[in-house]
């Protein structure tokens, strides 16, 4: 407490407020955390503010404001050496100044700024952004390379937040016709995140739009390779495709049910409508009753329950084909929990406190308080199965902090906990390698490898350990034997290393082992079969008041059985009829002979046979027109439903399915096909919207043509 007070006393008042808020924020679990880079960036901006006070003209160079050239040198030498960030800003500013005077001459300064801020990614990131905004192409690239080198040496594999920012900037630059700037920003985004396919996808799209076939192919191939090489990418893709499939099927089922409910609504509710005050119009009573399901939905009744409800109300009136489809729908809804279970099995690999996810983060990220915290917390409540991998995570973090001996102890402990885990063994090899025990490391790598040529990180480590023993050709041999994916992984690391470093930092000497895609899929498959998953309402995304997931399947079976029994039972007495003239639904109470009340009123008092027949014809035409209008309206609102309503055909079914796909895709959550912090990830969103537009246009044309025909016949009548 005392120390905190002392620290506080030195801060100005606004900062006190900020600190209290930061403390409050830390204690509040629903606050969204910043990443270390984002937190660092915010701090860097504060540092830059201080720097601007000290050296306004240097700051002006970076921010692209007017500069008094004669004061630059003086300001630079006045910078305090102990203020590392300030000096870094100064160097970058000077570098940019010189670069603009004479291209190529600013490089040493910019390199120096990167070196000075090696440990402060936030400052580097700010510099990268200033160079992007106000610098030249090469100054930006150089600054970016500096960031990349610092990131890699600190053990970060990727900085998705930086990459996504650059992609956003690239998008804006592209729309401002600054193609070169956009291009270089995208290329750098891809380097700052060499794992995700998203930056490469952005480049593929940009190349394709510029009709650059070579570029499109190269970047497309890179997208493909990244998906193939990293199991996390495959997981994301598989999870999303599964979800898309589930949503599509669910939406198609909903559309079908909706069509039938609308089609049979008068039959469903007529008897109920008769219980409402009969002196109001029947249409009003129907609409009022139609509000019930809407209200239920608004009140939060889930789609599962609504589906079952719709199946029940439609069943009695449904035709044979419709009943078959409804049976499928009921059973499909029943197996939802299992489909979701499969999703959830994949999904559990993303659990932020889950072992795999924590380990993945430890491999991909550098050390941060947050991550350390996460590992400790997970270790605190880990089962004995999970403990080994989490202990390994801890060891890797220790290594990323530079505590090699401690890391070795911890990884040994992990190995003791689970000696058969290849990832732990490989890491043990890594630690031994880093403290110079090359032979032991080589032996361990070779044992783990055991003729397997598909594990990139392992082969890389093996090659390194042999090379360090002086056999320089061994890496080439290994690469020649490695599988394509393994070679890709090794190539990426080798390229990064040769680009960024003359002397490799420890974090770049070894690659941390990862679960290969094949291993991951086997694990997921086994977990699913062993029913190591739970499904809750969120996963089903059905609604707030709904059947609990456990009972959905038995319930659907029971419902199906009931429907079959109920449908086969002969109706005791026919209670609903259709008006023979206009087709309206009527019951014993409201029918007048063969006519509904409406037709009866219109026909009453007309005795002349011919006159009567004419009137009957007119009523028939009107009701025909009404039905057609209804159909076309449905087709316009949800293309295909109107067609299905009048006559179930395969074409109409396909149309509805296509609509389901597009709706599922474009109504779905952002970040659909990849987990990434940019909107760019809505791969093919344009296509989906395009198809939707097409479907609706066709619906509109059908409507206009239909109406035209109506109008023409009406003219002829006249």
């Amino acid at each position: 407490m005392v120390s905190k007070k002392l620290r506080l006393s030195r801060l100005d008042l606004t900062k006190v407020g900020g600190l209290i808020l930061a403390l409050a924020a830390a204690s509040v679990s629903s606050t969204l955390p910043r990443t270390p880079l984002q937190a660092g960036f915010q701090e860097a901006q504060e540092k830059f503010k201080a720097f601007r006070v000290q050296a306004p003209d240097l700051a002006a160079i970076l921010t692209g404001k007017p500069v008094q050239a004669d004061r630059i040198q003086a300001e630079f030498y006045a910078l305090s050496v102990s203020d590392k960030a300030g000096v870094a800003f100064g160097n970058a500013a000077l570098g940019l100044w010189n670069e603009k005077l004479r291209p190529g001459s600013g490089d040493p300064w910019i390199r120096e700024s990167s070196r000075l801020s090696e440990t402060d990614l936030g400052v580097q990131w700010l510099l990268v952004l200033e160079q992007l905004q106000n610098g030249t192409k090469s100054s930006f690239q150089l600054q970016c390379q500096g960031l990349e080198a610092s990131m890699l040496s600190q053990g970060w594999m990727r900085l998705p937040e930086a990459a996504s920012w650059l992609l956003t900037s690239a998008g804006e630059a592209a729309s401002a016709q600054q193609t070169a700037k956009a291009e270089v920003a995208r290329a750098m985004a891809s380097r700052l995140d060499p794992v995700s396919p998203v930056p490469e996808w952005a480049q593929t799209k940009a190349s394709a739009l510029n009709f650059d076939l070579g570029g499109t192919y190269a970047h497309g191939l890179e997208v493909y390779n990244r998906i193939l090489a990293y199991s996390a990418n495959q997981q994301i893709l598989a999870f999303n495709l599964l979800r898309l499939l589930r949503y599509t099927l669910a939406l198609t089922c909903l559309l079908l049910l909706l069509t039938w409910v609308i089609r049979y609504w008068p039959y469903i509710v007529h008897e109920l409508a008769e219980r409402l005050p009969r002196d109001s119009s029947l249409q009003l009573r129907y609409s009022l009753l139609a509000l019930i399901p809407v209200a239920l939905m608004v009140a939060g009744l889930g789609l599962v329950s609504l589906c079952f409800l719709a199946a029940v109300v439609v069943w009695r009136k449904a035709t044979k084909l419709e009943r078959t489809l409804i049976s499928f729908i009921v059973l499909f809804v029943g197996v939802q929990p299992y489909l979701t279970g499969l999703e959830s099995t994949i999904s559990s690999h993303f659990d932020q406190a889950g072992t795999e996810s924590v380990y993945q983060r430890v491999v991909q990220e550098g050390w941060s308080d947050d991550l350390q915290d996460r590992v400790e917390k997970s270790l605190g409540r880990a089962t004995s199965d999970e403990r080994a991998l989490l202990t390994l995570s801890k060891a890797i973090l220790l290594r990323k902090q530079g505590n090699y001996l401690q890391a070795l102890d911890v990884v040994r402990e992990a190995h003791r906990l689970n000696p058969s885990d290849s990832r732990i063994s490989t890491s043990l090899g890594n630690q031994l390698f880093l403290i110079g025990q090359y032979d032991t490391a080589t032996k361990i790598y070779q044992t783990v490898q055991a003729g397997d040529w598909s594990n990139g990180p392992l082969l890389f480590n093996l090659g390194q350990s042999i090379t360090w023993r002086g056999r320089t050709d061994s890496m080439t041999n290994l690469i020649a034997n490695a599988s394509a994916i393994a070679r890709y992984r090794i190539d990426v690391v080798a390229r990064q290393n040769s680009n960024a470093f003359q002397i490799l930092p420890p974090n770049r000497l070894v690659m941390d082992p990862e679960m290969s895609p094949a291993q991951m899929w086997t694990a997921i498959y086994e977990n699913f079969l062993a029913h190591r998953w739970t499904v809750d309402r969120w996963d089903l995304q059905t609604g707030l008041i709904d059947l609990p997931p456990q009972v959905i399947f038995p319930f659907s079976l029971a419902l199906w059985g009931f429907l079959l029994w109920w449908g086969s039972r002969q109706a005791r007495r026919k209670t609903l009829f259709e008006c023979r003239t206009c087709g309206r639904v009527m019951c014993r109470v409201c029918r007048k002979g063969i006519h509904c009340g409406n037709c009866f009123r219109r026909l009453s008092g007309i005795e002349e046979v011919e006159l009567r027949n004419q009137l009957l014809d007119r009523i028939l035409r009107e009701s025909d027109g009404r039905r057609k209008l209804m159909r076309l309206t449905m087709d316009l609102a949800l293309p295909g439903t109107g067609r299905l309503m009048t006559k179930p055909s395969f074409g109409a079914f396909c149309q509805i399915f296509l609509l389901g796909v597009c709706l599922a895709y474009s109504l779905n959550l952002p970040n659909f096909l990849s987990l990434y912090p940019v909107s760019e990830t809505l791969v093919g969103q344009e296509l989906a919207i395009g198809i939707l537009v097409f479907l609706y246009t066709v619906g509109g044309i059908q409507l206009v043509r239909g109406l035209g025909k109506e109008a023409r016949t009406a003219m002829k009548e006249a």
């Binding site: 629903s30 998705p160 009140a299 027949n613």
Partner: protein
Amino acid sequence: MAQALNGQLRDFSLPDVLQFILQQRKSGRLTLTFHHQKAEVGISRGNVSHVDIDGRNVETVLRDWLLSSGRMSQEDLAGVESVSRSMDRSILETLVAKKFISAEERAEWIQIVAEDLICDLFQWQEGAYEFNTDLPASAMRGVGINLSTEMITMEGMRRLDEWPRLRDRLGSPGVQVSLAQAPTSYADLGPEALILRQLEQASAPVTLDDLEHRVPFGKFRLYDTIVAYADEGYLTLRQDGKTFDSKLPLRTDAEPNKSSSTALLLAMGAGMMVLALVVNWMISAAIGHLAMVPERGFIGAETRFEAIKLHNAVQRFRYLTGDWPNSLDKLQSGTSVTRGERNSSMGVEYGYGNWGTGYEIWLRERSSESRKANP
């Protein structure tokens, strides 16, 4: 060109068939068969012009009635039939010519008898139907029937509906009818008044079966009329020596369009929606209150990336403008955070607070506490 339409009544009932023929304005002969029964309906431009059920038609029904009611003797009939044959005209016309019935009566009886015959057909729920246009209706010797198909269908359906109640009331054996009080004028009551005349002639109560032979009406018309007359007080109904009234509940279908119930219904609808919205609000408030940043599963990962995106957007806004945005809405211009992206994948909206020196993003309903923390 000859056209044929055929099928089973089970699939396509008689009203449907007639309706179809009427819509097409077809002429021809509709034949219905069920076991050994056979019925023929002549149709001319969609309307009924002839009917014959197992040899019973307007002529035979009227002839039988004249015989059984004693208005004509067997010898008279033989004479009429030979005259008709030699002059090649219908028996009815000869009957009119010989003054057994009057010309006005004739038109009335034709209509009534034909109606009753056809209405009986509506009871056929099974059997086959066949409609042929090759045999013109004129080929069947007509007696001048012209019934609106649509009216007759209506009447037939009405009779189907009401028949069970009439039968329950009068169909039990031993029901006897006698005249209670003669009406002031028979002419006002129409041709059905024949029933009262017949009862007047009979001194003792008459059983229904007996009465049926004395009038040319179908069962339905007879029972229906009897019930109506009983209600009027013209007739007395007896069974096992006791009198009873027909006690058929009268149906009144007054449908005045009262605006009050329309308003009531509208209010009900509005009330229902309001209730639903309240429930929705309550639930989402409860959920929002519980909302924590999800950590489990894909949603957890999504939320993490959403957080990165939102923080990026806010920081980018500040980097470009020098100020923190006042709300996430402000981000729409200048940065690429759409409305959808400001909602979490869980469907809960993100909250945002800016206090000059910093900002915070949280799941909804945190706002109140965060505001408390920030005076």
